[in-house]
């Protein structure tokens, strides 16, 4: 009798633990601001309920998608929550595709994407989405620090990424094999870089490495002698060298001035026209407040982004 009682107790406690763990997972998933470069997709739970209120702004906003846009959206959300304490904003990563499919399904309020929805979704689904091009981001070609090249022409970049040039000595550097580090074919960063920096050239696949997140690209290029890859300006750090393209440095100023070509709008998609508090948040994204934050993080937002249009 004691045994059976103990068995039941054990079973119950196991169940209880399982429940605690499961529910713990669920809640951490919905509020955890995913670290940059997290490639995992978040669950498609329905956490988007935007409640409207008359006098003060309140409710929850969930945003998911592009990891390239994530640092700015996170910072902007934190600022917005300071201004409107009754609003809770959750920003998740997951990738542009995740953002688009989740916003199309109504699982999140805002889907962040580096690319136009039409490129990923079917035409029918894309039609339901409203595009808010509130921020822009630049991308830089980056190389290992030991590479003795500071500037490449567009043609040289194309030659490198299409495999025509395989040694740094052919583009003015030392005798060192070029190691191309690509993003997966589905990556928004890759799509933008190919379109804007390589004029749509077909990049080689064989003899290249592929890394999917900003963090691993950075680590790989920093380690690998002769490596070249591309990265959002927000993720640049001292461990790698950003190349000038046609002599122009990849900076926010040069993008706004129109001299540096490799940038794209970050799209914040909503399903249908946004309601409160999502609408206020999207308006906030175009404010000078966010423009200041963006400048610090190497993005372009607010009035600068308007200039780009």
């Amino acid at each position: 009798m004691l045994n059976s009682k103990r068995l039941v107790l054990v079973l119950l406690s196991v169940l209880l633990i399982a429940m605690v763990i499961l529910s713990g997972c669920g809640s951490s998933q919905s509020r955890q601001p995913t670290a940059p470069g997290n490639g995992s997709s978040s669950s498609e739970q329905n956490s988007g309920q935007s409640s409207t209120s008359e006098d003060t702004l309140s409710g929850t906003i969930t945003a998911a998608g592009s990891t390239a846009m994530q640092p700015l959206v996170e910072k902007a959300a934190a600022r917005f929550m300071e201004l409107h304490p009754n609003v809770t904003i959750t920003v998740q990563g997951g990738g542009s595709g995740t953002g688009l499919s989740q916003v199309a399904n109504g699982a999140v309020d805002i889907g962040n994407s580096d690319v136009f929805a039409e490129e990923k979704l079917g035409a029918d689904q894309a039609k339901e989405l409203v595009d808010h091009q509130v921020i822009a981001q630049g991308f830089a070609a980056i190389v290992n620090k030991d590479v003795q090249v500071d500037s490449l022409t567009k043609q040289q970049l194309i030659d490198i990424f299409t495999g025509k040039v395989t040694n740094w000595k052919d583009v003015g550097g030392q005798d060192l094999k070029i190691v191309v580090v690509n993003r997966p074919t589905s990556s928004g960063t890759r799509v933008t870089f190919i379109a804007k920096a390589l004029d749509g050239a077909q990049v080689i696949e064989g003899n290249t490495l592929t890394e999917d997140s900003n963090g691993t690209v950075l680590a790989t290029v920093a380690q690998q002698p002769g490596a070249i890859s591309y990265l959002g300006l927000a993720y640049l750090d001292e461990s790698v060298k950003a190349l000038k393209i046609d002599g122009v440095e990849p900076t926010v100023e040069n993008i706004v001035a129109g001299t540096y070509p490799v940038w794209s709008f970050g799209h914040m998609y909503t399903k249908g026209e946004p309601k409160e508090p999502v609408k206020s948040f999207l308006d906030f994204m175009t404010s000078d407040d966010v423009a200041q934050i963006a400048k610090k993080l190497n993005y372009i937002a607010g009035s600068d982004a308007a200039k780009l249009k």
């Binding site: 059976s4 119950l12 490639g39 595709g97 499919s101 696949e205 592929t210």
Partner: protein, 309 residues
């Protein structure tokens, strides 16, 4: 007095019955739940995985034989390309190599623990090996990326990120799995076997090699197959060190390669549910599941065929 005792007895038998009922219900529910979950997962993955061929009309031959992968390539550029051969080849190659490194080591360790130094082995070595299992795979991957990859690059050659690096990392990860199963199967042998062998005048080495190993062989093979299945399914650690080169079949162990699991984790966040790019990933997942099911069936068959007894 007598009455009270009877009541007590009645009470206890009553609570016993309730306990029994409760226990039965809880365990049955657990069992049914597991069965339901497994069936749902299998159906879901099969449905999703087959839609590449049934809905998107990609030929299975292309999927298995072609090695060019770009499911999002527009038809105007010759797309979509859904060839998974590189990933299948990479996964099988890396797991097999890992097994070749790990299996002999595991067998040696298991023999040491059970036959050579039972006391010390079981008290110290076995817990240490079990600790291995608890190390998260991202830790293995990170150590591999920052120690093993540079070591291979500087001392052996190539990019460092290679089939070799992947196999070594994987072999360390599957080592505890294989060893534990092998230890169990050796331990399960009755001591009569040792005694009979020694009585016949056999040395310790002869006893181990001619009597114990053949008798424990099915169990040890089960361990190897479990290790192989675990190796095929491992994603993160291998992805971090193998380089992920699409479109090229590795010709040397110093070449980078790509695996089924890493293409899934890399692309899933960037693709949208229901599109070909996403379905193709499900097909790879389905294939992965079928391969591990085959291994599990193999384990069952081998486990039944006992040499001893």
């Amino acid at each position: 007095m007598c009455n009270e005792r009877q009541v007590d007895k009645l009470k206890s038998s009553n609570s016993k019955r309730i306990n029994e009922l409760l226990g039965k219900t809880v365990t049955t529910i657990c069992g049914l739940l597991v069965i339901a979950i497994v069936i749902m997962i299998v159906i879901f993955i099969t449905y999703k995985g087959l839609s590449t061929f049934l809905v998107n009309h990609i030929s299975p031959i292309e999927f298995f034989i072609s090695s060019s992968w770009n499911p999002e390539l527009p038809p105007s550029d010759g797309g979509p390309k859904v060839g998974a051969f590189v990933f299948i080849y990479g996964s099988v190659l890396v797991s097999t190599l890992a097994l070749i490194i790990s299996a002999p080591l595991s067998a040696g360790t298991a023999i040491f623990i059970t036959e050579i130094a039972p006391k010390w082995g079981q008290k110290v070595l076995q817990p240490i090996i079990e600790l291995f299992v608890g190390i998260p795979s991202v830790v293995y991957g990170w150590v591999g990326l920052s120690v093993l990859v540079p070591f291979i690059r500087n001392n052996i050659g190539g990019y460092g990120m290679s089939v070799l690096a992947g196999s070594i990392v994987l072999s360390i990860m599957i080592f505890p799995t294989i060893t534990s199963v092998m230890v169990d199967s050796l331990k399960a042998l009755p001591f009569d076997l040792n005694e009979a062998s020694y009585a016949l005048g056999a040395t310790r080495w002869q006893t181990i090699a001619r009597v114990l190993l053949p008798a424990a062989l099915p169990g040890m093979l089960t361990g190897i197959i479990l290790g192989l299945a675990r190796g095929l399914g491992e994603a993160l650690a291998v992805q971090m060190v193998i380089g992920n080169t699409p479109g090229k079949i590795p010709t040397s162990i110093l070449d980078p390669a790509h695996t089924m699991t890493s293409i899934i984790t890399m692309d899933m966040g960037n693709t949208v549910m229901g599109t070909l790019a996403n379905n193709a990933l499900w097909s790879i997942a389905l294939l992965l599941m079928i391969i591990s099911l085959i291994f599990i069936i193999l384990i069952r068959v081998i486990g039944k065929r006992r040499v001893y007894r």
